[in-house]
């Protein structure tokens, strides 16, 4: 099968672990009694579910940064757009159970005296339509943005900065209450999804499993893409863009395809994130968030996919622990971690693991690999 052709042993192990986690956590939550030492509270389920969506997001960034050299500092925008599409569906699901009991309008519209539902909210009462939008809206934005940017051969830092401008502009736009997306408060107070209560542990577990499945699928897709000739062209573009062009490849088309795919993956991640954390607001568009995603990938090891997912989980786990244990000092840890990783672990956690393994197996084999870092 095309999807499984290029997964490889490490990939299969990754998928296996993912599958184990996806079964063990719901089991520990649903079937083990609360006083059991291995019981997973809904807090843990929610937390791990969040990590998984971040891992998928990191995967999408790694696909274009690690394999195609496109450093997007605006990927949070696609994540957020997917989240908003999901959020709009969840808002419509509230129906007349909002505080003002308006059957049609979400609460924030009622209390700002909106009279009717804006046209762009139509259709979001349908789950299928919303899911379509989860992929279509980020995909379309990425396509339009990429169409212009890649055709004009905007590369490197310039591209990074305009992706940042994009997410910044979107953040400002979504902050406006006049836009009809709830302004700063965003969308919140969700009740249920597909008729299942979002507050129940069973739904939470289901969302967790869905996130794990999405991550697994996203990983397989990314592996299939990067393993194909298409993926080899992407790496070729990353390492020697103009050479690839002289070979007759339409570099802009390749970049556009990868960028759009990546944006759609980010959108799916956002859509799974929102019901698990219960809120989506314009803060997700903040340029700092997008930079953080890149940091996850760098920490895990770029251009490895598994590393990206791992990095997202590790950094966020560290954040969870530190914000609770050292609330005053966690920024020192986090900042220090980034500096340390760039200086001493340029290929990330996975690179270090790789080196260790290599040393273990072939104590003195000279590395046949080229320079660690691809040209940028």
């Amino acid at each position: 099968m095309w999807l499984t052709r290029h997964i490889g042993p490490a990939g299969w192990t990754f998928l296996f672990v993912l599958a184990v986690v996806a079964t063990a956590v719901p089991y520990a939550n649903q079937l083990l009694p609360p006083d059991h030492p291995w019981h997973a509270s809904s807090y843990v389920v929610g937390l791990l579910g969040k990590y998984l969506t971040f891992a998928l997001l990191a995967l999408s960034v790694d696909l274009i940064w690690g394999y195609c050299g496109i450093l997007s500092l605006g990927h949070g925008a696609f994540f957020a757009l997917g989240g908003y599409a999901m959020g709009m569906y969840l808002m419509r699901q509230i129906g007349d159970r909002g505080v003002y009991a308006d059957p049609l309008l979400p609460d924030f519209m009622v209390f700002l005296n909106w009279q009717e539902l804006p046209w762009y909210w139509y259709g979001f009462d349908s789950f299928l339509f919303a899911m379509l939008m989860v992929m279509l809206v980020p995909g379309l934005l990425a396509f339009l943005f990429g169409w212009f940017a890649f055709r004009s051969r905007v590369t490197g830092v310039y591209l990074s900065i305009i992706t940042q401008a994009m997410t910044y502009a979107l953040m400002l736009a979504f902050f406006r209450n006049d836009m009809g997306f709830g302004g700063n408060n965003g969308l919140t107070d969700f009740k249920d999804i597909l008729g299942f209560d979002l507050q129940s542990d069973a739904t939470r577990c289901a969302l967790f499993v869905a996130s794990a499945a999405a991550l697994g699928l996203g990983f397989m897709l990314a592996r299939a893409v990067t393993g194909s000739t298409f993926g080899k062209v992407l790496v070729a573009i990353r390492d020697a863009e103009s050479r690839t062009r002289f070979l007759g490849y339409r570099v802009d088309h390749y970049k556009l395809a990868a960028f759009t795919l990546s944006a759609m993956m980010a959108g799916v991640a956002g859509a799974l994130y929102v019901p698990q954390v219960g809120i989506i607001n314009p803060g997700e568009f903040a340029p700092a968030n997008s930079i953080e995603i890149v940091v996850w990938v760098a920490v895990g090891g770029r251009g490895t996919l598994i590393g990206a997912a791992l990095g997202a989980v590790v950094v966020n786990y560290a954040k969870t622990v530190f914000t609770g244990t050292f609330p005053e000092y966690w920024l020192f840890f986090l900042g220090g971690l980034f500096v340390f990783v760039t200086l001493f672990m340029p290929r990330g956690i996975l690179g270090v693991a790789d080196d260790l393994r290599r040393r273990f197996r072939r104590p003195s084999a000279p590395s046949a690999r080229p320079a660690d870092q691809p040209a940028e």
Partner: protein
């Protein structure tokens, strides 16, 4: 160790550590403190964390509550709204706190609200806000719009004779709602449409040249003009600096603000701003013994003579004391018992009176209006004769004028519609 194994180990570790945590026996009563210590809101919220630590320490010196010591649990939600929800869940589910004091922005409160309702926690929210909410699990110890905005506008109309209004706000829900209420209120007092200008700027807006210049022009039409500012946090300092730079004096165009307190002024040279106003329920300059005691304890605790006190700090002071009293009344920290016990509880506030918890989970407060002094303090120029009851649902908004909140049995409803006689919407 191969790659996936690391992931598996990390997951296992996480689950194990959280499981261990909750297994501890409860010898103390844990109190959650949920304020941002980093990010954009740290500037305001860090002080509230400190004041909570001080109040808890004080209470412990007096023997704690129910004979048990209180144990503060501080977490940092880092000005990140989804993180607020996660941390709230951590506090209640993992740490098992009896009550949580925290959040500042509306969005952070909205973010944690479902968590507190689901896990039946208690949240004391200390900041003035837009109203339009009443939850069984939340106690609103800050001002509702009728405890701040409307008295301030009344004052300006009566004392200063203001006839023309600029409602200048940051574009988020609190200013939007407050200005909607004020607009309706002003119109009901015969202010014409063209005498009201409403404008919104983004968060952290730093360049106020155009707006201040507009305000000057708007005020130059011969009618006494005032600005009602619901500008948030960071944007205030550049706004006031621009007012001073363009020479907008309080005697010409007074600015009354609802989000500017002593903490915000601490970052400003207030000499050019003397006479601009703020409406709160507490000022550091309140001339009562209770207040002086509070200030002395605070300065001692924080170890810095330059620090100030402000309204949200008083709100925590009131809220904390109410919770303590309610727990003692109920004889347990069980949330349901405390929720029942706390209504009607009345504790001294710092302005010389008593504040009581009302059935709508808002409290009674006096409304004070202060003018900025050159030492960064406010001189109180007006005080409502009696206490004002916080109104969860505004009478001036179309959607909410028929709604009331009453959490006493048998009604137990946060949004009861008196027109239809039903407990609408979520009902939770």
């Amino acid at each position: 160790m191969n790659r996936p194994a690391i992931l598996a180990a990390a997951t296992g570790l996480l689950m194990a550590s959280t499981a261990l945590h909750s297994a501890y026996a409860q010898e103390t009563i844990k109190v959650g403190i949920l304020h941002s210590l980093s990010g954009t809101m740290a500037i305001s919220e860090t002080t509230l964390k400190d004041v909570m630590l001080m109040l808890i320490e004080q209470q412990n010196e007096e023997g704690g509550v129910l004979g048990m010591q209180l144990e503060p649990v501080v977490v940092d939600p880092a000005s990140d709204w989804p993180l607020f929800a996660e941390k709230a869940r951590e506090l209640i589910e993992v740490e098992g706190v009896a009550a949580t004091f925290g959040t500042w922005t509306s969005v952070s409160r909205k973010s944690v609200l479902p968590v507190f309702e689901e896990l039946n926690g208690l949240l004391f929210y200390p900041v003035q806000y837009e109203g339009e909410e009443s939850s069984r699990n939340v106690f609103y110890t800050g001002a509702a719009p009728n405890q701040q905005a409307i008295p301030a506008v009344d004052y300006l109309m009566e004392v200063e004779g203001v006839e023309r209004w600029v409602l200048e706000g940051t574009d988020y829900v609190y200013p939007r709602t407050t200005n909607k209420i004020l607009e309706a209120y002003l119109k009901s007092h015969g202010v014409a449409d063209e005498d009201i200008s409403i404008n919104y700027t983004p968060f952290g807006h730093a360049d106020w040249q155009t707006r201040v210049s507009f305000i000057k022009d708007f005020g130059a039409e011969g009618k006494k003009t005032a600005v009602v500012s619901t500008i948030n946090g960071d944007a205030n300092v550049p706004f006031y600096k621009e007012l001073a730079a363009q020479g907008v004096a309080a005697s010409d165009i007074p600015v009354v603000a609802f989000s500017v307190g002593e903490e915000e002024l601490a970052g400003l040279d207030t000499a050019p701003l003397v006479g601009h106003l703020a409406a709160w329920n507490y000022f550091m300059s309140v001339d009562t013994d209770a207040n002086y005691d509070f200030i002395d304890t605070w300065l001692e605790f924080i170890g810095d003579e330059e620090r100030v006190t402000n309204d949200p700090m008083e709100a925590h002071y009131i809220g904390f004391n109410m919770w303590v009293k309610a727990v003692e009344k109920a004889g347990t920290t069980d949330p349901d018992a405390v929720i029942d016990a706390i209504i009607g509880v009345s504790v001294p506030n710092l302005s010389g009176g008593y504040s009581a918890m009302m059935p709508n989970h808002h409290i009674t407060k006096p409304v004070l209006i202060g003018e900025i002094q050159d030492d960064g303090q406010f001189a109180i120029v007006y005080e409502t004769p009696g206490l004002v009851v916080g109104d969860a649902w505004s009478d001036y908004l179309e959607g909410s004028k028929d709604l009331i909140a009453d959490w006493r049995a048998p009604m137990s409803c946060g949004n009861f519609n008196v027109a239809t006689g039903t407990c609408g919407g979520s009902g939770s």
